[in-house]
Each structure stands twice: as structure tokens, then as C-alpha cells.
């Protein structure tokens, strides 16, 4: 019976398929089976796009494929990850070092991809840590976090980590104004005393390494979101502000008093001139700069002791304020660089400023007063257009390659498509529910690939099987290749996704590294062959230089370890083949396991507490003899005369 039904269904489906054959596939509607087809990537086939989706309060970055929505990897960035020993292994711990000490988590927000000439180049992904202000760089050859840098004088690194057209800078603006330098003072004296630092991190074009080139010390507003100028506005950076009231309590009321806040337009080319002319002040600071090396397979921390600061009141032409209604959140610049979209989250309209008009207003000094020495331009003189009442609670805008903009509306849970220049609303589609960010591959650059739109939702309520009080957040994929948007699929995300970045897989896939070459391994405790394995003692420190290959450890029998010792397992994976990692686990290890890629060396510390003979084993199924990949460490009492020895197969 079932078979009959199946066959009839198959024939019916086939009939539809045959009728559909040759016709356009964007028909849509509930009867269309094509939505499933559009997101179906057959087993063994690859997705068209990589998407890097922020892991929000998980502190991590998730790598998905689009259109399938399949999760490939969670890249640990700001939080420890015992699965991969990130932040637990001796080599990766320094990546989480800060001036506050070792911080095992953060709230990761806005990933952005490196660009060349305003086009995504697939080299690096940057992402900001919001709580303990930091920016991280992920190398897209290895999909590993290779650098973290702390941002001094900042608190709530939210208007971050967006990159300029040629990745000259990645930006880090503070959300919370704070006393600069920090000091003991009454909170009520906030107004006029607190400051908001906007940091510009220069990116080395070859190595990708970041360095804080300068900070602009702005008035004590909240700097919410940011976007670099593109194309014609290259050289400028735009930041939305709220709390221009400079309130310090019951902010939801007290920082929503002004009819308009500002978009701060920063001329960073001018800043470079002021820096070259020596107009900066050098401030003492203390912040961590952590870099991971693929040669030593280890990260190191450098302590930076000063930062260069520009005061906009002393630097004419550096910053202008563009009045923007109602606590603007999203700050987005279209691919041409002409339009700066400010989404007043309490406004019924979406405000769009014109870069050309802004330059004209600056040239003709059409000022409407100033704030802390920074000229305020007249709203009417910079206004490019208004999208009238498109929805409730506008947040973020991205762009396609056909002159359209797409804005999310948190309160009315929808994505609205509108036309740049005419400001007319073209289409709207619901989201499920309470959408925050959205992303179009390349949609914040000069070259969007306007095929898909990903909306990221804060709330899922009834969308999936319930999992108790805590529910997942989600991403929803829309086809935007036609006139009307079409919802294709939705899938859960890790943490709360604040923004994402995506690009065609071809920009990254060919460069993806397969192994680390053993001969290039410069780890100080590497054993490049079984001949080089050994165990050495330095006081109560025992260093085991161990190797692994399918499917044994060398050595796999160790004696002479004593209770109270600190045993460092420096484990090198001798494999030189793609996708053959090995794991390493030691009973009673208080840290984590290790997961070691071919040619890599990693280290964990084990502090044996009890006498006995204790096993270790490989945690990553590596071959048919994986279960045999095991060994023993003999632990003797304190003061025992058992000599340090190690062996494999009796040798």
C-alpha cells in the first residue's frame, strides 16, 4: 500500500516537474516544491557560500554553508572550548589574556571579512568581543583564531569590527562612555566628564596583524554601530550614537529624550594627516596583544603600554555630526558610498543621509551649532531621503547589487525591501521572530552577491521542537534574486547571532590548508619523529615529548611520575595526511582533552593526585585500530625511587 502511494506521489511529482521543466523556477507559492530544491545541497556536494555567523554570548564564530544552512565548524574565538582545547592548551591560553587577567568568555558580535578595493577577498575574518573590549582575527586558511587585541579606554566594544575598502583599518568604537583614564569619581558627574573612544586598528596588508594606530576621544555618548565609507566615501567612517543626553541611569527613558541623536562622520584620512603632523597625545595604557604562530603552534602575549589619542575639538575637519532621528542603531552605507542609512530604532521612518550633500554642507559650513567642539550639520542639508513608515523598530540595512536596500524591523518582525533613490517600499516578508541583523553575501561591501538574504532572529518561540525554557535563536534564508523575497528555510544558530558575513566559497575553499608540515614545526617541545621522543624532569615538572600516528603513542608506557608532579604532555601528531587528527585524553586531567591536527604540537598539563597506573587514549576515531591507541602512566608516591623511564613496545 505504502509503495503504491509512494509511486503515485512520485508520478505526480514527476508530472509537476515535467510541466515545470523549462519554465522559470521563481514561481513561488505554497504549491511550489522549488524552495526545498533551492536549499538542497546533495550529499557530497558543496555549498555556494561560506557564512560566518556570530555566536553572540557563546563568544564564538560559526561557519555555515549557504544555501543549505549546514554547520561546518564552530571556531573558538573569545571563549574556551574543551572540545578543541582552545583556551585550555598551553599554546592557546595566551589568546584569552587581557589586562583584566585570563578571560574565558566574551560576547561576540559583528564578524566582517577583509576586503581589497571594496570587494571581499577571503583572507581574514574579524570579530569583536563586546564585554572585554577586543578584536580577533581569524585566518581563513586554517579557520583558526590567530590574533586577539584588547582595546584600551573602551567599554562595550560594540561599534566594531568593520573593515575599510582595502582593510586599511578595522574599527572599534566604545558603546559605553567611561572616565578616560579610568578613575574613582561619582557616577552622577558623567555628563561632560565621561568619554567615548573610537579606535582605528591598522591591519598589516601582508600578515594581517593589527595595531591600534590611533583613538579619537569623542564626547561621552554611546557609539552604537559603524560602517566605513565605500567607493566615493572611502576615507570616512560613520558611527551611530545614542544617549547624546549623557544620562547615566534609567537609560531606556533618559537617553530617549532628544528628538535626534547623531551619526558621527569621521574623516580617517584627515586623522592620518593629523597623526603625521604629530597632533596626537600619547596616553599611558596597558593592554594585551596576542598572536598565534603557525610555525611554533603557539600564541604569545605582548603588553602594550601606550596609545595615541586625537582630540576632535583640536582637529578641525576630523569629525562632523549628522543629526539623525530617535536613537539610531544600524549605520549602513550602500555599495556606491553615497547613502548612509541611519535606522532610528524609535522612529517610524528610516533616515538616509547623502554623502554628496554632507560634503557640500561641510564646504559651505552649514552648521547647526556644535557639541564639544564638533560641528553639527543641519539635518535638512544632509538628508538624502526618507523611507516613510516602512515598519516598526528599524535596525539594520544591507544591500543587493541592483540598487535595493533591505532593512530589518525588530518590533514588527519583518524584512522590508526598498529602493535606493526613490525610497519606495517594494516588498516585505515576515520573520519568525524579532529579527535583529540581516546579511547578504558582500552586502556591506561595494560588491554584493544579491542572491540570498539571511535574517537573524532573537526569538524562535514555536518554530522548533521545544527544549525547555531555553530556546535556540535562528537564521532565516530568503531568495532575493526575484522581485519579491521568498523565505526558503530557517535553521538554528549557536548563541545569539549578531550579524554575519558571507562570500562565495570559491574565494576561500582553494586556500584552505590541509595539514601543517612537520618539517616546518618550530614548537619548542616538538618531537618530529619517534626517535626524538623523551621524558625529562625539572624539579616537579615532567615534560613528555610524545608523538602520535595511526594508531599508537610513542612512548606509551611512562614510569617515574610522582604524586604532586606537574606533567606537561607535549604531543605531536606525526600524520601528514588530510583529515587525520588525533585526540589525547588523560584520566583525571583537570583541563581538557587535546585535538591535534596533522603536523601540529599541543600541550596540556596533568597533575596526578593518586598513586596507581593510569591510562591515556586517543579521543578522535582515527583508524580501524583506534581503540588500541592507548597507553599507561605509572604514578608513584612522593619520594619514591622509581626512575623516570619511557618506552614503546619495550624499546
Amino acid at each position: 500500500m505504502k509503495k503504491t502511494i509512494f509511486s503515485i506521489t512520485a508520478i505526480a511529482a514527476l508530472a509537476i516537474g515535467m510541466i515545470g521543466c523549462g519554465a522559470k523556477k521563481d514561481g513561488g507559492g505554497a504549491m511550489s516544491g522549488s524552495n526545498a530544491e533551492k536549499v538542497y545541497v546533495a550529499p557530497g556536494e558543496h555549498d555556494e557560500f561560506y557564512a560566518f555567523i556570530s555566536g553572540g554570548f557563546s563568544g564564538q564564530l560559526a561557519v555555515y554553508g549557504l544555501p543549505s544552512g549546514r554547520l561546518f565548524k564552530v571556531i573558538p574565538v573569545f571563549s574556551q572550548d574543551p572540545e578543541k582545547a582552545y583556551g585550555y592548551s598551553e599554546e592557546t591560553k595566551p589568546l584569552l589574556e587581557t589586562s583584566y587577567g585570563f578571560i574565558p568568555w566574551d560576547d561576540a558580535h559583528h564578524p566582517d571579512l577583509s576586503q581589497t578595493k571594496g570587494v571581499i577577498d577571503g583572507r581574514w575574518c574579524f570579530i569583536n568581543g563586546n564585554n572585554t573590549p577586543r578584536i580577533a582575527r581569524i585566518d581563513l586558511k586554517t579557520f583558526e583564531t590567530v590574533e586577539t587585541i584588547e582595546i584600551p579606554n573602551s567599554a562595550g566594544n560594540h561599534s566594531s569590527s568593520y573593515v575599510t575598502d582595502n582593510t586599511e583599518y578595522v574599527v572599534a568604537g566604545t558603546r559605553f562612555a567611561v572616565p578616560v583614564p579610568q578613575r574613582d569619581m561619582p557616577i552622577s558627574e558623567y555628563k561632560g566628564n565621561f568619554k567615548g573612544a573610537l579606535s582605528f586598528l591598522a591591519v598589516d596588508p601582508t600578515s594581517g596583524e593589527m595595531d591600534i594606530a590611533f583613538q579619537i576621544m569623542m564626547p561621552g555618548f554611546d557609539y552604537d554601530k559603524a560602517h566605513p565609507g565605500r567607493g566615493k566615501s572611502h576615507g570616512w567612517f560613520f558611527f551611530t550614537t545614542y544617549n547624546t543626553e549623557e544620562a547615566n541611569s534609567l537609560m531606556e527613558v533618559n537617553s530617549s529624550q532628544n528628538d535626534k541623536d547623531f551619526i558621527a562622520a569621521v574623516n580617517w584620512k584627515k586623522a592620518e594627516e593629523y597623526m603625521a603632523a604629530g597632533k596626537f597625545k600619547t596616553m599611558p595604557a596597558n593592554y594585551a596583544h596576542n598572536i598565534y604562530s603557525d610555525r611554533t603552534h603557539s600564541a604569545t602575549t605582548t603588553w602594550k603600554k601606550e596609545v595615541k589619542v586625537l582630540n576632535p575639538a583640536e582637529c578641525p575637519g576630523l569629525v562632523y555630526f549628522l543629526p539623525t532621528p530617535k536613537s539610531p542603531h544600524g549605520c549602513d552605507v550602500d555599495p556606491s558610498g553615497e547613502y548612509i542609512v541611519g535606522s532610528g530604532k524609535l522612529s517610524a521612518n528610516v533616515t538616509v543621509h547623502s554623502f554628496t550633500k554632507m560634503l557640500d554642507a561641510i564646504k559651505n559650513e552649514k552648521y547647526d551649532g556644535e557639541a564639544y567642539g564638533i560641528p553639527i550639520l543641519k539635518f535638512e542639508d544632509v538628508l538624502g531621503g526618507t523611507v516613510v513608515q516602512p515598519g516598526l523598530g528599524p535596525l539594520h540595512t544591507e544591500f543587493d547589487d541592483k540598487g535595493n536596500a533591505y532593512t530589518t524591523f525588530f518590533i514588527s518582525s519583518e524584512v522590508v525591501k526598498w529602493k535606493l533613490g526613490t525610497w519606495e517600499v517594494l516588498d516585505r516578508k515576515p520573520t519568525y521572530y524579532s529579527v535583529g541583523h540581516l546579511m547578504i553575501p558582500g552586502g556591506n561591501s561595494q560588491k554584493p552577491w544579491g542572491k540570498y538574504l539571511l535574517a537573524m532572529n532573537k526569538i524562535t518561540k514555536d518554530r522548533y521542537l521545544p527544549t525547555g525554557p531555553e530556546l535556540c535563536q535562528s537564521a532565516q534564508l530568503y531568495d532575493i534574486s526575484g522581485d519579491k523575497m521568498e523565505l526558503l528555510s530557517d535553521f538554528p544558530t549557536i548563541g545569539e547571532p549578531h550579524y554575519a558575513a558571507a562570500c562565495p566559497a570559491d574565494l576561500i575553499k582553494p586556500n584552505s590548508q590541509k595539514i601543517y608540515k612537520l618539517e616546518k614545526n618550530e614548537h619548542p617541545w616538538v618531537a618530529k619523529s619517534e626517535k626524538e621522543t623523551k621524558v625529562t624532569r625539572k624539579g616537579n615538572e615532567v615534560h613528555v615529548q610524545m608523538t602520535m600516528i595511526r594508531s599508537h603513542f610513542s612512548p606509551d608506557n611512562i614510569e617515574g611520575v610522582k604524586v604532586g608532579d606537574k606533567v606537561y604532555f607535549h604531543v605531536t601528531n606525526l600524520e601528514q595526511d588530510f583529515d587525520v587528527p588525533h585526540g589525547f585524553a588523560m584520566i583525571g586531567a583537570n583541563t581538557s582533552e587535546l585535538l591535534i591536527m596533522p603536523g601540529q604540537t599541543e600541550t596540556i598539563v596533568w597533575e596526578p593526585k593518586r598513586v596507581g597506573v593510569w591510562p591515556m587514549y586517543c579521543t578522535d576515531f582515527c583508524s580501524a585500530l583506534h581503540q588500541e591507541m592507548q597507553g599507561y602512566v605509572r604514578v608513584s608516591p612522593v619520594g619514591s625511587s622509581t626512575q623516570l623511564s619511557w618506552s614503546l613496545d619495550g624499546e
Binding site: 512520485a10 515535467m18 523549462g22 618530529k528 619523529s529 595511526r550 599508537h552 601528514q576 580501524a624 585500530l625
Partner: protein, 151 residues
């Protein structure tokens, strides 16, 4: 029932044929493979892989030295001379195998185990599949040269 499925299959073929745009993928041939193991020329088992022939001259001491270094770095975790270990004793491997077979086993052990009977027998005997250590052809040639010096 079978008839209906056949009709479906036939209709699908028609559909694919009529849709010029979507070329059907070349799936693995439906016909049963004759044998997974390729036939070897009698007496000479060259194995399968990138190496079709090896030219051998006088033993080149420089090449032996680099081959030994490569062997020490990439192979000794599983092979010990004069002793069966994870893998076979290789002291007389040059006498047992064709030079092409040796290099193919080094360069593409996965393919060898799949398609070469002798390699498959080794897997049965030793259980541990030989690891591909990603040697270059040049490095594998060096290892072969080193094997030539062993007895």
C-alpha cells in the same frame, strides 16, 4: 509494482532528456564492476598510482642520504629495520617488490589498498592501514634509493 517503478524511471529519463539545461550527473556506472582489483601483468606487479616506471642507475649516495632522512622523519613511527613493527620489516623490501610498487605504496596507499591485491593482503595481515605521509615523488624516490642499499 515493479512495472510502475520502471515507468517512473523511464519517465524520469524522458524528463532529464527534455530539460536541456540540467545535465544529469554522471553517477558511478550502474553496471557491476568486473573486479575491484586491476589485473597485473604476470610476474611484474607495479601496483597502482602515479608511478608507471622507474629508471634505475648506479646507486646515488646523495639520494640515499636524503631518502634516509625522509624515512627517519616520516616512516619510522611504523617501520623498524630488522623487525616486524606496526608495518612490515623493510630490510628486503627492494627484493620483494618492484620499485614502482614501492613508490606507489608510499605515494597513494589508499588507492593501493583498494586496487592492488598484494597491498590488500598486507592490510589483512597487519590490520593497520599504511598512512599517507604526503611525500613528494622526489622524496619517495629517495626512500626507494635508500631501500636499494639495504640487505
Amino acid at each position: 509494482m515493479k512495472t510502475i517503478n520502471l515507468i517512473v524511471a523511464a519517465a524520469m529519463l524522458v524528463m532529464f532528456a527534455s530539460c536541456g539545461g540540467d545535465e544529469p550527473k554522471q553517477e558511478g556506472s550502474a553496471a557491476a564492476p568486473e573486479s575491484m582489483v586491476k589485473k597485473e601483468a604476470p610476474g611484474k606487479d607495479l601496483g597502482v598510482g602515479p608511478i608507471k616506471s622507474v629508471e634505475l642507475g648506479e646507486i646515488d649516495p646523495a639520494l640515499v642520504a636524503t631518502g634516509l632522512a625522509t624515512f627517519e622523519a616520516k616512516c619510522t613511527a611504523c617501520h623498524k629495520m630488522g623487525k616486524r613493527f606496526v608495518g612490515p620489516d623493510l630490510t628486503d623490501v627492494y627484493d620483494r617488490r618492484e620499485p614502482e610498487w614501492i613508490m606507489n605504496m608510499i605515494l597513494d596507499p589508499e588507492l593501493m589498498v583498494k586496487e592492488n591485491e598484494a597491498a590488500r593482503q598486507l592490510l589483512m595481515e597487519y590490520s593497520a592501514p599504511m598512512a599517507n605521509q604526503n611525500l613528494t615523488e622526489e622524496e619517495a624516490r629517495g626512500v626507494l634509493e635508500y631501500f636499494r642499499t639495504l640487505k
